[in-house]
Amino acid sequence: MSSATTAKAEAAASASRRNGSGDSQDYEPNMVLATRHFDVVGTRPVRHDGTDKVTGRAIYGADLTLPDSLHGAVLRSPHAHARIRSIDTSKAEAMDGVHAVVTADDLPPAEDKQVDVGEGMTRLAYVHGNILANGKVLYQGHAIVAVAARNAHIAQEAARAIEVDYELLPSSMTAPEAMAPEAEVLHEDLFTKEFGEETARPSNIAEHFRWTLGDVGDGFGRSSVVAERTFDTATVHQGYIEPHNVTALWNHDGRLHIWCSTQGAFVVRDVTAKVLEIPVSNIKVTPLEIGGGFGGKIPVYLEPVAALLSRKTGRPVKMVMTREDVFIGTGPTAGSHVRVKVGASADGQLQALEASLAYEAGAYPGSYVAPGGMCIFAPYDCANVSVDCYDVVVNKPSCAAYRAPGAPQAAFAAEQVIDEVAERLGIDPVEFRLQNCSKEGTRRVDGPKFRRIGCEEVLRAVQDHPHWSAPLGGQNRGRGVAVGFWFNVGLESSCTLNVNTDGTVHLVEGSTDIGGTRTSIAMQAAEVLGISAEEILPEVVDTDSVGFTSVTGGSRTTFATGWAAHDAAQKIVAEMRSRAGKLWGVGPEAVEHEKGVYSCNGKSIGFRELAAKASRTGGPVSATATVKPRGVGGSFSADIVDVEVDLETGKVDILRFTAVQDVGKAVHPSYVEGQMQGGSVQGIGWALNEEYFMGDDGTMRNSSLLDYRMPTVLDLPMIDTCIVEVANPGHPFGVRGVGEANIIPPPAAIANAIRRAAGVRLQRLPMSPPAVWAAVDKARGMAA
């Protein structure tokens, strides 16, 4: 354990197993309490945006129509892979009510440079190519032409009147297909980067790299049980309920104003600036409320297009995608092909772990195979590990991030083979994982050593949970368990606090509020200031009105923007000590602050009273803080799931589901539980029914919410949550982040449960009724 010299480290160091703290928190932490007492952090105030959300007054992008607006529509490719011979827009342009048409020719040529697209870098040319197809279409749904018209109906009719002459090309829909030597190459200028070096031949394999620890050959040699299997997962979509939308106004003074639904207003600003070759200072992005993102609202699709249409027409242009547009035109997550080999000695010690992951990036490189490779064995401390990763382009929409991007596919494979090895060794699956689990100091295959982490505590919580030992009852039932890891990220955040003379504080921030972060950020400022969460009034503002703030993603917002709020609040406290000192004729160092009360020599004044005297003590009180935190704390999550399998139909019912996650510190436990439940439900959908069902021609056959089957409320039990708090020593309140790790274990846990319920191991997602029935039928045939 690390030296406990600071309060932060102490919180971590004393985070040993114990239930309940006796503190005044209004919830019972399930496990391993972060031991510091807080007044606001850890309580459940009503969210600041609650009234607007429940009354329907919150303004989303589709609600906004500026005076004089035109409406846009996009013509998308009907083909998975084709060369564009010609585009004839004349009929569309001649239609009454049509004001402008744009194609890739209206975009400035892409310079050969890298661009930051929110959570990583990519080639600007790829961003360009995805916004409007240039020369080739690379997937069904690829945007080709956009139209602005008097209303949306005319725009859609005009888009249909555009004639595109295609030369059809063979398409590759999966990584193994696209990697085959005879596969049609998507990009003539894409050369495989092999172990960091560029090779000479164009290929669909954008990159191949490998991480190793020790010697897996040795490890397998020492193993008494070795299991190896190959797994595939289908492409799935994030499934946010609100389609992408934008309104853009390119003003006559050259300033561009964009209103949209995004996880990162500054990403929209910066990417749009690069694509259109205009200074970032010429663009203002106003983020409207967001109806879900899950990583899929980080990429820029419509914004530059609407901007170009607005520049051509001099009027605001509004564009709203249909659900079909969202499915075929926006980022799904990678389908995958993963081989995993695990070896362990008879005493249950892991000796070697080996994996090869090939992920479908979609039309442009960037499949999130790297985080998949980093996470695949992260829960395990093993001396011999080897992981190969392949980033492969295929004729599907370009991948976007999706909640712990890359990790669920990896865990679906690894956690099944781990389970199989435990089963063959006759060791309890949780006990086996505990025996081998990562701890502080364990080295991950990609290099870093873990700092204080809660893998063991999460697994102990599973073991101690009443669900784990409850009787299953009934026929054809099974219980499964799996664990997953996600890094979380820090990136950059800004926050400004303005103290009002009535004692309230306006909090200005730039993080899109997806999961209740206005409140979780405000609570951290309130904690420092010693006032209530309700006395902080948080607002998410446009890019002109707050310092740079990275995307809401990587489970970073409560962690990093909360940290900026914490730091700004510290500055306010310092200023308030100085103001109190002025009242009493002493220096700030003589004034003490505790829980919102400033005192010196027996005199004291509360925050509210002191705020009222701002004008007399030197004027407005305001502070800004910016952060780029390094102390990111990774999060482990595990699930216990009970299923019942109808052997005659292959239908899997989820009977009971418990999600366990180390969140560091639950700032607002209700929203933490909500994140854990939401991630679990998305994982269940991924596990059981969700998939892009592709026809032989490479087109998606189920691009509606009727046939793309996300779970409904009737398909789910109540998701039970178990919050584990192993404080992150790298954050003032011990926060790790909660948004992502929870989606990683569900598919694997359900697969392990199906194995026990029906005796079959499913090696492909989704584990839909036909797939489960076929596996059961095949096993019976073999048994007969």
């Binding site: 139909t649 059981l688 009727l706 089957r709 409904t712 009737l714």
Partner: protein
């Protein structure tokens, strides 16, 4: 822009005149839960929409012990499952109308619309076939009556002529010792389209099947009446063996395709499973005992 004429006749005569005048350009609108979606998605573009909801004959819902049930073509599902007489006499119909769409959809969707949409996977149709329902069809030329199993001629295709409209479905009164059931399989538990469905009815007498009908959804271009499955049951003792034989007859009669909702092989399997399971419930409802 594409414009649509919307007509809302108040009487049957007005309604029949409207269909006579507009013929193939017209499409009847009841709840609109299929039609409006299809028009919005560009799958259907009728120049004239004739709303039949104000026509009294399309809104009848009446039961009579000797005549049976008259079910107006535009009567929404919620009225059907809210009707005491229908609940008592036609539980097999209740099965299907309470699973079409979700609660909100059931406030508008009608059995007549479900039939006229002629989807192979329509949930109400196998139940109607099993219950020996017939279609009352009218035009300004006159009336005719068609058994439900003969109404659909292909996906989206029916026997309706351009000037005709479906007014009502007529269900004979249930005979003593009879029971019916509709079961479908969907991967989720609601808001889904049948991968396969089975509507069955039985009449039991002296521990044997006196009569039986089995109809399937989503395994052929139209809802399918499987006469062989009924025949195999007739005269047999009421036991699980008989149900299994009927299930196998259903499996043999199915002509499914493979698509995003399931493979042909899987659907054939479902026909056997669903037929057997639906028959179990129908037998129970008929007061029978499978032991």
């Amino acid at each position: 822009m594409h414009w649509i004429d919307y007509l809302r006749p108040r009487t049957l005569d007005e309604c029949l005149d409207a269909f006579a005048e507009h013929g193939e350009a017209a499409r009847a609108l009841a709840g609109g839960t299929d039609l409006l979606v299809q028009m919005r998605e560009g799958r259907r573009s009728n120049a004239v929409v004739i709303d039949v909801k104000a026509v009294e004959e399309c809104n009848q819902l009446s039961y009579d012990d000797s005549e049976g049930l008259t079910l107006g073509a535009a009567v929404p599902c919620y009225r059907i499952y809210g009707d005491e007489a229908v609940r008592r006499h036609y539980p097999g119909l209740i099965d299907s109308v309470s699973m079409i769409g979700g609660t909100q959809i059931q406030g508008r969707a009608s059995v007549g619309g479900n039939l006229c949409n002629a989807s192979p996977s329509a949930d109400a149709v196998p139940a109607l076939i099993a219950l020996r329902a017939t279609c009352l069809i009218a035009s300004s030329e006159g009336w005719r009556n068609v058994p439900v199993e003969d109404f659909c001629t292909g996906p989206g295709q029916t026997v309706l002529r351009p000037s005709e409209v479906l007014l009502a479905l007529l269900l004979p009164p249930p005979e003593p010792g009879s029971g019916a059931c509709y079961l479908r399989f969907i991967p989720r538990n609601e808001m889904d389209i049948a991968v396969a469905g089975a509507g069955v009815s039985v009449r039991l007498s002296g521990g044997r099947f006196a009569d039986a009908r089995v109809a399937l959804a989503a395994v052929a271009p139209t809802p399918l009446l499987v006469r062989e499955a009924g025949e195999v049951l007739k005269g047999r003792p009421v036991d699980r063996n008989a149900l299994g034989l009927a299930g196998e007859a259903a499996r043999a009669a199915a002509r499914p395709i493979s698509d995003m909702r399931g493979t042909a092989e899987y659907r054939s399997n479902l026909c056997a499973v669903l037929t057997r399971r639906a028959l179990e419930t129908a037998v129970q409802r008929a007061g029978g005992d499978l032991g």
